[in-house]
Subunit: 348 residues, 2 copies
Amino acid sequence: MPLNDTRFLRACRSQPVDSTPVWFMRQAGRYMAEYRAVRARHSILEICKAPELAAQVTIEAAERLGVDAAIIFADLLLPVEPMGMGLRFQQGEGPVLEGPIREMADVERLRTGAEVAAKLGYVSDAVRLVVRHFGERLPVIGFSGAPFTLASYMIEGGGSRNFVATKTLIYRAPEAWTKLMRKICDVLEPYLLAQVEAGAAAIQLFDSWVGCLGAGDYVDYVLPHSERLVHAVQQRGVPVIHFATDSATLLPAMHRAGAMVMGVDWRIRLDDAWARLEHRPAIQGNLDPVALFAPPAELRRRIHAVMRQAGGRAGHIFNLGHGILPNTPVENVIAAVEMVREYSTRGS
Amino acid sequence: MPLNDTRFLRACRSQPVDSTPVWFMRQAGRYMAEYRAVRARHSILEICKAPELAAQVTIEAAERLGVDAAIIFADLLLPVEPMGMGLRFQQGEGPVLEGPIREMADVERLRTGAEVAAKLGYVSDAVRLVVRHFGERLPVIGFSGAPFTLASYMIEGGGSRNFVATKTLIYRAPEAWTKLMRKICDVLEPYLLAQVEAGAAAIQLFDSWVGCLGAGDYVDYVLPHSERLVHAVQQRGVPVIHFATDSATLLPAMHRAGAMVMGVDWRIRLDDAWARLEHRPAIQGNLDPVALFAPPAELRRRIHAVMRQAGGRAGHIFNLGHGILPNTPVENVIAAVEMVREYSTRGS
């Protein structure tokens, strides 16, 4: 079967499918013994930078779970290194970015453009290996962080609870903000297109932290930049899945960026989210990742609720409302795939 | 002027006012030098448990800022101690609750009822001192955490990112969950009524973490308990302000608990939130707390945006969308009060 006729890619284009496609954000991750075995010998950055390792954990997860798409294993912070910021992962503390961006002079020091993106070639090399492995059998999803999320990491110097430095930069130096977002996009655009060249059949844009903004600020300070990336990718005939958490109030504004698929978290009902989007894009989501810790009957009840809200309408991709959490029982993830298929077939 | 005719209490009842009332969540806090001076000599728990100190920081903040209401200084975790859990605040790590609740046996061990609430008498003593200070001049707001937020702290043993233990308890042992919520309410109800007895003119119920739930789970596992508390307080003629962050999708369900005032965070436009509530309750909010770090012109622009969304409709209480953050410049908080008054008067 041609790749374009797989369930996942048909659903991305809102075409009818035999069974709702299913995959999971962060499906290759710490919850899985195969991944932990690789992690025991390599750091996250080592895995990302060794295409054979990144391909291996990507493939193992997709094969083990029996999902309808494989998402390339990579870290959303990879672009900051060739842009000129030191990056390390501290045990239990998350990522640390050295020399956070606080003013125009900091933004000006950042490197950008195609030659910077070229230094991330290990990601497209990994995509190529995974595409070679799966052939026409399974579509491969490329990805990157969205510009806001990358910018917030670069400004905060790591994770943040309140995004005070990020918002303060927007308030005090909007031209520095705009320049930062442009420089990030000047890297992300060729980076994503290289993944497309390597065979990625779809691209997911993860705006993990943009939910800290109100919709007005989203439109003013984020939308034009995300839109540029969505447009660049979709112009190549490759659908974009545009995902954020905590985005219930941002969905209509985010949709203006034009992605063919909108990913939604569990805080909003899937039917409500889709209605707010006037059912124009396909929709991906949105089981609470914690539901995968529930006993089977309760997990099934919650999966059926999502499926019922999708209502059999063409263009639903089953996923979580955020990434798989550490310590999630892998057997529950496999069971979830079966429950989605079972519901799709029986329709009840 | 009788207390009942103050701007704040009129707005709680959705009656017209001469100028939009304004106060700030966590208005007595680390950002303020007066508070830091007290904190230099006393722990948070010491301040809470010494009515003179709690009253002092409450009064100093309200006087300094010139706001329209004083909220009693207290910690939302105070009830867990007399219920039988050890509580301490670790430098930089937030609260730690000893012996987290994970099963029915843990729930059964918890103490509850009026005699437990009586051990929190230092809070109503502090309310009494503040009420005596302000007399008819300024209404005093009592408060407690809402049952979900307290339960989640008790189950997680502290703060949490994903609330895995809390949700897993709901999935695996719903009867233990219900019993826990009832025991919490059996303490919170007399605790809040004691604050009312002491002269609190309104009660704010803070459901800080309930935004981690979808609306379906809110209705099934939270609503009946919050409703019970709202009802108990409002039966005494005292309005309840029902506040949560990240609650855009929960607002209609939360409103079913019946509070006269709904507090909303900045992720949803105030006009959108109020419309979703069909303008039935009064509304409190919703400036992004980070806006208080902005230069004056930008702060004014953002305050005016909130005021414009309120549209001069009776029943708006100006506040932030969450508590004042550490390091907020106190002069900006004072300026914000003036900007609200200025807009109310000029109407532009």
